[in-house]
């Protein structure tokens, strides 16, 4: 994509842009030039470099450089936009036609045509090792209907698919590479059609990629390559940037901002993401089987103060599972739970809930989580709610709450967000969803509304459908959203053109190096 078209796109979205700090400034200065190696401090070793078999959300930062997706999204709103699929159309609610861009090749020279797309989609939805089968559950068959055209026959209408194809499920891997790969997975030898081609991966140490000279986007990418140094200690990673050994670090915790800003050689960029801290509730058992207690909890939290105290102000108070800048945000739903401890007290009394009865909620043991708990305990105490946090490691506490044990009445955790909001809602608020800890039924109109949100392609119709979904979720108070975490990225001053995105998983599309 050239600068002009991007600028035009940004102009259209000026409203959304306002909330993205530095978003406009980052690309307004200087002319992009080629050359140089971008050195990045990455917080985690990838679980796999095969998009279908990997599992960690942190993998995308690497995957996006090597694999292009069928669909992309606008950085600021996550609205789907053409990529490898230059256009798509639902010819009827159960048929999605994708027109694949002509002339694109994978890094190994294999043409990216309709056959290659079919091969990938069939693998993603059918292979035993694929972790993303559930994403493509609505697809009944994939047919090649032209040299550069595939047609997806659907079991049920699913307009979430373009969003889904902007994530793992839409990352195209070279079929040639997959066919010769051991076990049919390219975990260690990824071959995609992305801006960068894979060079090497030393576990827990370094991942190197180099510029794809035949990349389909004109004048992209600018750097000759990217070197990711894997540094799990974020404080150490930040030091590597201030000391000039790396150019950029992403996923910094808010408390790092003040420290890193003291270094004169470093600039900091931040923007909202879908990542939301929230209290999951088990509404199958007391006390949260009572809607009034759930609502009371939502009224008892001062989200503005929480964002300031727990996240150093680098956060947006959350009143639902979507932030303000998202295309499906609904301002009316956001007004449902103003901070009102008296109302909370009243609701508890109506529910017959004895003030001060301890409620056990699960949490995590790390320093930041405990700090969040302390703030919540204090806020809830003012409304007569006595919360006891029982902490464990992330894996342990999550499994105890969502798994078979059903420990605790709630869990203070986070939701990472999905490219299409319908997934967020169906994964948490349908009867048998894993993140519905009690596997308790939800009102039929909510299930219907979630289904409706996938029925139309028209974004205005979908926006309305999501407004209904969000209203039902929040009126029933099935969750206590707290705050959306900002993406916090620190970089050397020579790094230009980096923009945060709403998904919070960094993309380096327009980055270039000065000097």
């Amino acid at each position: 994509m050239t600068m002009t078209t991007r600028r035009e796109a940004m102009a259209l979205l000026s409203g959304a842009l306002a909330s993205t700090t530095l978003g406009g400034r980052a690309f307004a200065q200087g002319t992009p030039k080629k050359g140089g190696t971008l050195r990045i401090s990455a917080p985690a070793n990838p679980s796999s470099l095969d998009p279908a078999t990997g599992g960690a959300g942190s993998d995308h930062a690497f995957l996006f450089t090597m694999y292009d997706t069928l669909v992309e999204w606008e950085f600021e709103t996550l609205k789907p936009k053409p990529a490898l699929a230059e256009s798509w159309k639902f010819t009827d609610p159960n048929t999605l036609v994708l027109n694949i861009r002509a002339g694109v090749t994978f890094h190994d020279g294999t043409p990216l045509d309709a056959e290659a797309v079919k091969f990938n989609l069939d693998r993603n939805r059918g292979d035993a090792k694929s972790n993303i089968k559930a994403d493509l559950l609505s697809v009944a068959s994939v047919e090649v209907t032209g040299p550069q055209q595939v047609t997806l026959k659907l079991k049920t209408p699913d307009t979430a698919l373009p969003g889904i194809l902007s994530d793992r499920a839409g990352m195209m891997v070279s079929p040639t590479a997959l066919k010769v790969a051991e076990g049919g997975v390219v975990t260690r030898k990824p071959v995609g059609a992305g801006a960068y081609a894979f060079v090497s991966w030393a576990d827990g140490e370094k991942i190197v990629v180099k510029r794809n000279e035949k990349y389909w986007k004109p004048d992209r990418p600018c750097p000759d390559g990217i070197e990711f140094s894997i540094i799990p200690e974020l404080t150490t990673g930040a030091r590597s940037v201030t000391a000039g050994q790396n150019d950029l670090i992403y996923q910094l915790p808010p408390r790092q901002k003040a420290i890193i800003e003291r270094a004169s050689s470093v600039k900091v960029v931040h923007g909202p993401t879908l990542y939301v801290f929230q209290i999951f509730l088990n509404w199958a058992k007391p006390p949260f089987d009572n809607i009034k207690v759930r609502q009371a909890l939502n009224f008892a939290i001062d989200r503005e103060s929480f964002a300031k105290a727990a996240l150093a102000g680098l956060a947006e108070p959350a009143y639902m599972n979507l932030p303000k800048s998202h295309w499906a945000y609904d301002a009316e739903v956001a007004k449902l739970y103003p901070y009102d401890p008296d109302k909370a007290r009243k609701l508890l009394a109506e529910a017959g809930f004895k003030e001060g009865t301890p409620i056990e909620i699960g949490g995590y043991t790390d320093q930041d989580s405990v700090q969040r708990e302390e703030i919540l305990i204090e806020q809830l105490r003012k409304a007569g709610i006595n919360v006891r946090f029982v902490n464990g490691t992330v894996a342990e506490a999550s499994a105890a709450f969502f798994g078979a044990e059903k420990k605790g009445a709630g869990l203070l955790s986070a939701w990472t967000g999905r490219p299409d909001p319908s997934l967020t809602y169906s994964l948490m608020f349908t009867k048998d969803a894993y993140y519905n800890a009690g596997r308790a039924p939800v009102p039929p109109e909510l299930e219907a509304a979630i289904k409706d949100s996938r029925a139309s392609e028209d974004i205005e119709v979908r926006r309305k459908a999501f407004a209904t979904v969000q209203r039902l979720v929040m009126e029933n108070a099935f969750v206590v959203p707290l705050a959306f975490q900002f993406e916090l990225v620190a970089m050397n001053k020579k790094v230009q053109g980096y923009r945060p995105n709403l998904l919070g998983k960094p993309k380096y599309d327009d980055v270039w190096l000065e000097g």
């Binding site: 990838p46 959300g57 090792k129 576990d203 140490e205 150490t236 000391a243 894993y434």
Partner: protein, 318 residues
């Protein structure tokens, strides 16, 4: 007193090492299985269903009984194969082969630093016990023992990397590619670990020397009119050689353990970082591989020390 040949000694030591290796790897394996958390959940991805996790367990053989899984691992090791990471598929031997030199370089430099500073300190302190030099050295040594390595490491980075920009703050370079660059990267972490080593060497050496210097034959040497420095260098140090070797072997083992924390502070991809990553992700082939390597190294260090001690002091029975 008939001495056994070193070959026989090494042979019998290796036989003794086997149960140690078995016990250590078995205990670590058991611990990994006992603590909560499951690599199948990681392998299954972000929002996996219970069914998918069960399926993953079958695909990766994680549903087999605990003993069968350990036996399978052991079977591979017996054939010289440390197997591969469950998560990323990298051969464990490759990971260790890449990580070990980074750790070894830090430990070697730290050991050299500890000896170069610790030995003179110990000797100076022993020459005039309870004099002001001795008291000063005792104080420095106490500090060296008390100061936590990771704290010292961060102070060193703040001063020498971020402020003065003399040495790199993070990472490691390969010694075979660029020895000077590799040493520059390893220097700060080595200093951080060496502080403890220096203190330990100084304290132990002082104690051992004092004992030697107060013995009967040293009094005789004084009476013969030998100078203090000749007594010290020709007789004293020779006699504390065994003590010194023992201290060194203990130090090497301790320093290896200390790298786990220090490597995290400096983002050095060594054995310590490797085992931490393996343990956090419950990627047990990695953890097992590193434990195996560590045990072998410790046994080797102890064996070499014993052989050296016997060479220095023939009175020591093998």
């Amino acid at each position: 007193m008939a001495r056994r040949s070193p070959v026989k000694v090494i042979g019998s030591r290796l036989v003794q090492a086997l149960p140690v290796i078995l016990l250590a790897t078995f205990m670590v394996f058991a611990l990994l299985k006992l603590v909560p958390g499951d690599i199948a959940v990681t392998l299954a991805g972000d929002n996996a269903t219970d069914a998918r996790i069960t399926e993953i367990r079958q695909i990766y053989g994680l549903d087999r009984s605990f003993l069968v899984q350990y036996g399978a691992w052991l079977g591979h090791v017996a054939q010289g194969d440390l197997s591969q990471s469950l998560l990323t598929g990298e051969k464990v031997a490759v990971s260790i082969g890449r990580a070990f030199p980074n750790t070894l370089l830090i430990v070697v430099i730290a050991l050299v630093l500890a000896l170069v500073t610790g030995i003179p300190m110990g000797v100076m302190a022993a020459i005039k016990p309870n004099g002001w030099v001795d008291k000063l050295i005792s104080m420095i040594a106490s500090l060296g023992v008390a100061v936590p390595g990771f704290w010292l490491a961060m102070i060193l980075v703040a001063e020498f990397s971020l402020k003065l920009n003399w040495l790199p703050a993070t990472g490691a370079k390969s010694f075979s590619v660029s020895p000077i660059d590799a040493i520059r990267h390893a220097l700060l972490p080595a200093i951080a670990i060496a502080a403890y080593g220096m203190a330990e060497v100084a304290r132990q050496l002082r104690g051992a020397l004092l004992e030697v210097l107060s013995s009967q034959y040293v009094r005789t040497l004084h009476a013969k009119g030998l100078s203090m420095s000749r007594i010290l260098w020709q007789h004293g140090l020779k006699n504390v050689g065994v003590n010194l070797l023992t201290i060194i072997s203990l130090l090497v083992n301790r320093m290896l353990a200390a790298t786990v924390v220090i490597e995290a502070v400096f983002a050095i991809p060594g054995l310590g970082s490797l085992i931490v990553r393996g343990a956090i992700q419950r990627d047990f082939p990695i953890v097992q591989g590193v434990v195996f390597t560590m045990v072998v190294v410790v046994i080797a260090v102890n064996l070499i020390t014993d052989l050296l001690c016997a060479a220095v002091d023939p009175r020591i029975e093998q």
